[in-house]
């Protein structure tokens, strides 16, 4: 009883259950134009996409691996299968999803969450979506929520072509180029002008195959005055070989629209998470990022917001938890390129058992961004003396007429605070977990309840058993 009073039972095994790989198709490992062409054929791409992939591959081959962050030497692209198609077609009914895959998502609570609190759900297993569904009443509002593949050829094909990798271009960095070459799966969302989607949409990404990569593409367009909350979740079982996630998220927030993009990332600790996320916000619009990073062996993750229209706003609220063997380099980037724009970065990072957590942020206020406001607040908590926490905030302010604030705090759990909580009857583990949960409160309070519970469970999972 004692250890389970605060949160429901938690069990790492839920994330760790591996299904035997029963692929319909597994691409040869490595990267060559032939492999990319083959992939494109398998996916029945339109012509332009096939060319796009090949051009991206050329860019990929030209570009250098980034040398400014955590080492990714353990990642050998010659041994990553870029495309693993599960042996099923996409379905809009859970009952039609193969038993084994369905069970995986059942265990992760996805169908239940859909019934109880979501407007629509997409579930990706390895490289392809296996399930996609949108509640009828939301579809009736004109909201489009579909897998990327259908979007490429469907009613919104032109819109997709106009926006696909225009915000994150393949030339941005090596892994954006890789994504352009081998992307597969992901979701397309379009919310028409003035429509408020009352309850969130969610896509869940599960990578089951060992030694594989997941490269899903998420493209969301929230039209003028519309409002959406989108949640993405990710997990994978742990293997001894490296897995790679190089997804790409492109968010277009139009005039006076609002988009909240929440992520709970719990990749297994053999994952290289080299993900690129970007939003462009027009006049009076707002992007709100809520981000919890718990998994991965190495992460490079800095969602970027481009405030392009007057009065556009961006908020980034994030937490990163780096345990043994993890090197998580996370943060956010804000670009102010219009007057009276506001941005706020509020992050917490925790490191324990030798984990390395680096906060990296960049705020750029252009000379046209008069009367803009930007604030950065980052706090780090180290749970022991052999863990590491770094803070690398950068600011590039090109107008005098801006209000800029920054605060950073790095600390440890105080023994006196632990004793204080213990004197009320909490065990040492529980006392520490409570302090960490309190520290993470900025993020958990921003999440829908069931995700806040999941996040607290993850913290609990990381904390319990860490003492003595």
């Amino acid at each position: 009883m004692e250890e389970k009073t605060y949160v429901d039972d938690i069990d790492r095994s839920v994330y760790d259950i591996k299904n035997e790989e029963k692929d319909g198709y597994r691409m040869k490992e490595g990267l060559t134009p032939e492999i990319v062409q083959q992939l494109s054929k398998e996916k029945k791409d339109p012509q332009w996409m096939q060319l796009f992939r090949l051009e991206s591959l050329q860019i990929y081959n030209r570009m250098e691996v980034p040398d400014w962050g955590p080492s990714i030497e353990g990642l050998d692209m010659d041994h990553i299968a870029t495309y693993v198609r599960p042996d099923t077609k996409m379905s809009t009914k859970w009952s039609e999803v193969p038993e084994e895959i369905k069970e995986t998502f059942e265990r992760l609570g996805i169908p239940q969450a859909e019934r109880e609190s979501l407007a629509g759900v997409g579930a990706q297993y390895d490289s392809e979506l296996v399930y996609h569904n949108l509640k009828e009443e939301v579809a009736a509002q004109g909201v489009v929520y579909t897998d990327m593949e259908s979007a490429l050829t469907g009613e919104y094909a032109d819109m997709v072509k106009k926006h696909f990798m225009k915000l994150v271009k393949p030339g941005d960095h090596k892994f954006a180029a890789l994504h352009g070459a081998v992307w597969s799966g992901g979701s397309f969302v379009y919310v028409p002008p003035g429509v408020t989607v009352e309850i969130p949409l969610q896509s869940y990404f599960r990578l089951n195959a060992p030694g594989a990569g997941q490269f899903e593409h998420t493209l969301i367009i929230v039209d003028e005055g519309a409002d959406l909350h989108f949640i993405e979740g990710c997990s994978a079982p742990k293997y001894n070989v490296a897995n790679l996630h190089a997804g790409c998220v492109e968010l277009y927030v139009k005039k006076n629209a609002r988009l909240r993009y929440s992520t709970i990332e719990n990749w297994s600790k053999n994952m290289y998470n080299l993900n690129t996320k970007r939003a462009v916000v027009e006049e009076g619009g707002k992007i709100e990022w809520v981000s919890g990073s718990f998994g991965s062996h190495v992460s490079y993750l800095y969602p970027m917001s481009i405030l392009k229209g007057k009065g556009a706003r961006a908020e980034f609220t994030g937490i990163t938890f780096a345990g043994a063997g993890q090197n998580l380099d996370t943060g956010a980037k804000m670009v102010h390129s219009a007057p009276e724009t506001t941005s706020y970065i509020n992050t917490r990072s925790i490191s324990k058992d030798g984990g390395v957590s680096t906060f990296r942020s960049s705020v750029v206020v252009g000379k046209e961004a008069k009367k803009s406001k930007a604030a950065v607040s980052c706090q780090s908590l180290m749970l022991d003396s052999h863990s590491r926490s770094d803070t690398i905030p950068a600011m590039d302010i090109r107008t005098k007429d801006a209000d800029i604030g920054h605060e950073a705090k790095i600390g440890k759990i105080s023994d006196e605070a632990v004793f204080y909580l213990m004197s009320r009857g909490l065990s040492e583990e529980e006392a520490r977990a409570m302090i960490v949960r309190g520290f993470a409160d900025n993020v958990s309070r921003e999440l829908p309840l069931e995700y806040a519970v999941e996040m607290n469970n993850l913290i609990q999972l990381e904390m319990v058993g860490s003492i003595g």
Partner: protein
């Protein structure tokens, strides 16, 4: 039920290898209120911490018994679960955890089962009313940004909610204005009346004692109890201070 709640025998306590308490014998029976007085640096708070099991305060010799069971080596949470409570002189701030959820968690830990939110709220509101605390306090982060007086009230609130059989109050009255002292004493009086547990009140101020019946007074000087008397000893100290004991 054991008549003797707490007993220490020849208790010696060191902090960072410096011995602070040089052999303290103390016995507290159920329903008794003991006052521990003494000049600054005499070791009063050290005794409170050592009784509660703060790992920084090391017992180098002697024993502590609670309800007849030796607890000298037990961790603080075990002592709390057994029924001990320490009201801190400087309560710690825990951002992100609300006062009310913390109290609820602590209660659940002690009793080993869930408490219904409705029942909890009712009880909490009653106790907060007694302490003249706004209901909104419950939603504030534990001690974070609380004034000195608010922190002490929050400690007494925890005392009332956790309802221990022995409560040690370390300088609960220090830094409070007259009204706040009165409110806090009201809470302590309520505990004394309802629970009939044991109380050890550490203070060098006597205002908190004006409304509380006292059974024993101990004078602690240089890590030793140099004199034990009844409530009248408090008066004596009030008049003459600790001068006499310091010379001895």
């Amino acid at each position: 039920m054991a008549e003797i709640l707490l007993q220490t025998e020849g208790l010696k306590v060191s902090v960072e290898d410096k011995e602070i308490l040089h052999g303290v014998d103390l016995q507290v029976k159920r329903g008794e209120t003991h006052v521990l007085m003494g000049p600054n640096g005499a070791g009063k708070s050290t005794l409170g911490y050592a009784l509660m099991g703060n790992p920084r305060y090391k017992v180098t010799d002697g024993s502590i018994f609670f309800e007849g069971k030796e607890i000298t080596g037990e961790s603080a949470d075990k002592r709390a679960k057994a029924g001990m409570f320490l009201s801190f002189q400087n309560p710690l701030e825990v951002p992100g955890i609300t006062l009310s959820s913390f109290i609820k968690s602590a209660m659940e830990q002690r009793q080993g089962s869930r408490i219904r939110l409705w029942d909890f709220k009712k009880e909490l509101n009653k106790a907060m009313e007694l302490l003249q605390m706004e209901e909104s306090y419950g939603a504030r982060d534990l001690n974070a940004g609380f004034s000195g007086g608010e922190k002490k009230k929050a400690e007494i609130l925890q005392l009332l909610m956790l309802n221990p059989s022995l409560a040690i109050l370390d300088e609960t009255d220090s830094g409070l204005d007259v009204d706040a002292v009165r409110t806090v004493s009201r809470g302590v009086l309520e505990y004394q009346k309802e629970k009939k547990g044991g109380l050890i009140i550490i203070t060098h101020n006597t205002r908190i004692l004006e409304s509380l019946p006292v059974d024993y007074t101990h004078i602690l000087v240089d890590g030793k109890i140099v004199r034990t008397g009844d409530a009248s000893l408090v008066e004596e100290i009030n008049e003459k201070g600790f001068e006499e004991f310091l010379k001895a």
